[in-house]
């Protein structure tokens, strides 16, 4: 039988780049590691180009267990951009921290490979494979700053809890397989539409376990306890990568599995998910207010944003899917940017991450101050920035689906979040003093990454129409 392998090309390209960088790293001298950055970026760009070129129309590889549908394309591009921005913003950081450069880029590329597989997988086993590839690479990334005990602790914690979550996921997949006789999502969905298909007790139990496994990965309350410590301990660019790309990958799974293939079971989990969404938003926001470190605040804020994203999952349907995808774009731009500014504040082996480190930043470093202000305002949901537009569609999807209460709770949560996001701005513009000296006076790559995030934050907010169309098309391409 002829096997069509073309849908694999973009992910294969990323894998190939990873292996190339891994090999070259052995031969490149210590002072010339910069070339690895360019190779990584070129590889990512090439993969992106392939994905765009091959978009749609591909039948899918391995008996349609891997698809390169517009949905997968959407997430592939999101992952590639996030990975590229992460690499750009970490060049200087890892050099100063003494992290081995070659391995760092390799691991970023490998986890990106896993993510692409997750978004393209139409089969639970393949999804699981992608998830594990991604996770293991990120576990290592978390602990790569070996001199720092916090990093080791974070990596250990992340690994243990990640393994635990994987157990849930895998057991859930097993139960679903037992109930339906397949791990292929299309076939599972076909079983569901049969009148007797939903009779088994194993199916809801399996779905529930998969849901719990994914809830760990997106850091939904009450499965969030690892997040603050892990984000806090990891190198700042890795935290950004986790907050954006890992979360987006998990939500890709959420969209394909729950919002689409298992949508007939929606009534079974709506109440549960609604509670999860409300808890996640509220706990994330309330705890974020109490933080004294900006990095931990951003960690909790990422929990809160997972809660907002869950609103879209609860809402379901095309409106929910579209809102979910668009918000992932928005959230990606502003969160990568915010962590990027945080990266820029690092001094020596100390991350400049306390609120006090931001004091006076706005007038001393106008670009960083302006960028951070935009990211904070956007995260808090001020128009015309993308955080507002994203929330608008999230709330709208909830209202269209009849969950007005969810929209109101989401709005009140945004109010809570204003407290701590504004605190950063207060520090930057309304307090004097703070750290002296010029951290990262010359970090052109990092500044480029921040500038890209600024452009994304403003563009997606002011002219959201193309991205919205793209989100809708991607979601409704699911088959």
């Amino acid at each position: 039988m002829e096997t069509n392998l073309t849908p694999l090309l973009p992910s294969a390209e990323v894998l190939l780049t990873a292996l190339t960088v891994l090999l070259l790293d052995l031969f490149v001298g210590k002072g010339e590691k910069g070339i690895l950055v360019w190779i990584s970026l070129a590889g990512l760009a090439l993969a992106g180009g392939m994905a765009v070129f091959l978009r749609g129309g591909q039948p899918g590889a391995f008996q349609t267990t891997i698809l390169l549908d517009p949905f997968a394309l959407f997430f592939t591009l999101l992952f590639l951009v996030a990975a590229a921005l992460t690499i750009l913003s970490s060049v200087q950081y890892i050099r100063e921290a003494g992290i081995r450069e070659g391995e760092f880029y390799v691991l970023i590329l490998l986890s990106t490979f896993g993510m692409i597989l997750m978004a393209a997988a139409n089969d639970l086993i393949l999804f699981f494979l992608g998830l594990e590839t991604m996770s293991i690479a990120v576990y290592v990334l978390t602990g790569m700053w070996r001199e720092r005990s916090r990093a080791a602790e974070a990596a250990m914690k992340y690994f243990l809890i990640g393994a635990f979550a994987t157990g849930f996921l895998l057991y859930g997949i097993a139960l679903i397989f037992g109930a339906t006789g397949s791990t292929h999502l299309g076939r599972i969905a076909a079983v569901l539409t049969q009148p007797k298909g939903q009779g088994s007790i194993f199916l809801p139990a399996g779905v529930l376990l998969v849901l719990v496994g994914l809830a760990f990965k997106v850091a939904a309350v009450p499965f969030h306890f690892w997040v603050p410590d892990v984000y806090d301990g990891a190198p700042t660019p890795v935290s950004a990568f986790m907050a954006v790309a890992v979360k987006a990958a998990a939500f890709a799974g959420w969209a394909r599995i729950f919002l689409f293939q298992l949508a007939p079971l929606q009534n079974e989990w709506t109440v549960l998910l609604k509670a999860l969404a409300i808890l996640t938003m509220t706990v994330g926001n309330v705890l974020a207010i109490a933080q004294s470190s900006v990095k931990r605040m951003l960690a909790y804020s990422s929990i809160a944003h997972a809660g907002y994203l869950l609103i879209a999952v609860v809402a379901g349907g095309a409106a929910g899917g579209q809102a979910l995808l668009f918000y992932l774009l928005s959230y990606g731009a502003m969160t990568l940017g915010a962590f990027g500014v945080l990266t820029a504040l690092k001094e020596g082996d100390k991350d400049g991450e306390a609120y006090g480190d931001f004091a006076g930043l706005g007038f001393r470093r106008p670009f960083l101050g302006m960028a951070m202000t935009l990211f904070m305002l956007s995260l808090a949901g001020f128009p015309p920035l993308t955080g507002f537009t994203g929330k608008f569609y999230l709330f709208r999807s909830a209202i269209v689906a009849g969950h007005v209460d969810l929209a109101i709770i989401g709005a009140l949560n945004s109010l809570l979040s204003v407290f701590y996001y504004l605190r950063v701005i207060v520090m930057m513009y309304m307090e004097e003093g703070g750290v002296e000296g010029k951290p990262f006076a010359r970090a052109p790559y990092l500044y480029l990454a921040i500038a890209v995030a600024v452009v994304g934050t403003v563009y997606l907010g002011v002219l959201p129409a193309p991205a919205l169309d793209w989100s809708l098309k991607s979601f409704s391409s699911l088959r």
């Binding site: 949901g381 128009p383 015309p384 709330f395 709208r396 929209a407 109010l415 504004l422 207060v426 129409a465």
Partner: protein, 512 residues
Amino acid sequence: MKDLSLLVFLPTFGALALLLIPRRQTAALFKAALGVSLLAFCQSLWVLYRFDGDSAGMQLIERLRWIPAYGIEYAVGIDGLSVFLVLLTAFLVPIALLASWTIHERVKEYLFFVLLLETGMLGALVAVDLFLFYVFWEVMLVPMYFIIGVWGGQRRVYAAVKFVIYTMAGSLLMLVGIIFLATRNFQVTQSLTFDLLRIVNLHLPYNEQMWLFLAFALSFAIKVPLFPLHTWLPDAHVEAPTAGSVILAGVLLKMGTYGFLRFAIPLFPEAALAAAPVIIALAVIGIVYGAMVAMMQDDLKKLVAYSSVSHLGFVMLGLFAFNLQGVEGALYQMLNHGLSTGALFLIVGMIYERRHTRMIEDFGGLWKQMPIFSAFFLIVTFSSIGLPGLNGFVGEFLILLGAFQESPVWTALAASGVVLGAIYMLWMFRRVVFGPLDRPENQRLEDMNLREICMLAPIVALIFFMGVYPKPFLSRMKSSARLVLQRVESQRLAVPLIRSETVVEGKTARGN
């Protein structure tokens, strides 16, 4: 880009152009910002010239598809309700910039935010699309937050954060309301739009109207501010720099009352009618309470801030009288308050800059040292208390006239606010300007300079003009105000009335 868009975005372009000027050249920065704001004022005069005062509907409409998939448009227009508020905004910003000449730190950022704020205010006043309105509504918030928080007084951070949190609390619920309204409109009419002119024709059941009205009204009432939601106002006013206070009092507070008139009342007339007794009661409580608290203040700026609570209570009273006199009076009083309170804040700012104190007890006998200043101060004080012949009288008189037809008891109480207003303003004036010039610090005070005269002279000229010849203003407001009232009036006939006495008065009013 046509008339209105040009007006709205001119300040933004100016703000961006400021970024090109080196930050050390503060004089050039100031002149550029002032020039831009004067250009915007000229443009607003052009808009007034093109405005047809006889027609009731939206004019000079511009539409651009913005997010077509959701029927969201960039749609702006102007009518009798907004035209003078637009003018007032464009008029006050150059004056506020003149008042900022004494700011020396971070001038570039300051001017940038003031111009951005102007775009936000003008945009909110001309937006016809609900989504667009919300965007501008929030865009106003951020520059003001910075103006208070960076260039404000001692407790500026507290005041700035309080200002933002209060405003956001209301507006986020309004956002949910806007989305819900558009969704309902789609369910009923099958057309996806956020266009106010189309959604206004949607008739919702009373129950839904009430919830939506509450969501909108909360947002606007916080901004007005309606008692008991006013507690952010004294903090924000006292801590803001002079220009911030002028713009806050002159324009931002009007956004609340304007929002009621433009959105909350026409969209949900039944609910507005049902809520009117409560709102009138709160407005009158605000009038009396604001006046009494103002009387007790020993800080000039706080006194003026609380007088705003009282004056805006009059505006709300006029709006919810739901008759032509009341609504026109309210619109007129919005302009008056913008002028007179704006001028009062300028005056307080002037003596604060000279003496670095705002305590009433630190002054006395300024008349001898600063005659020009005192003359201006006297006129503005009289305007604020509504002396006949000056603008304040026209507005308050119309409001009381309108409200009396609706509820005589509350109006009588409100009228006592006029008396109280005269008491606290004149008492304050006497303590500051008259009496012996016994403090040595005050004996060296300089009178107003040319720049300061340029700030106050146009305001005072308008105070006189609007006092003696209100017709050009009122006649342009009339048709649009009548249109809003027709919407309410049709509901008054349709639904059972809330109180029996309104039936009688309603009939007599129509009988006239």
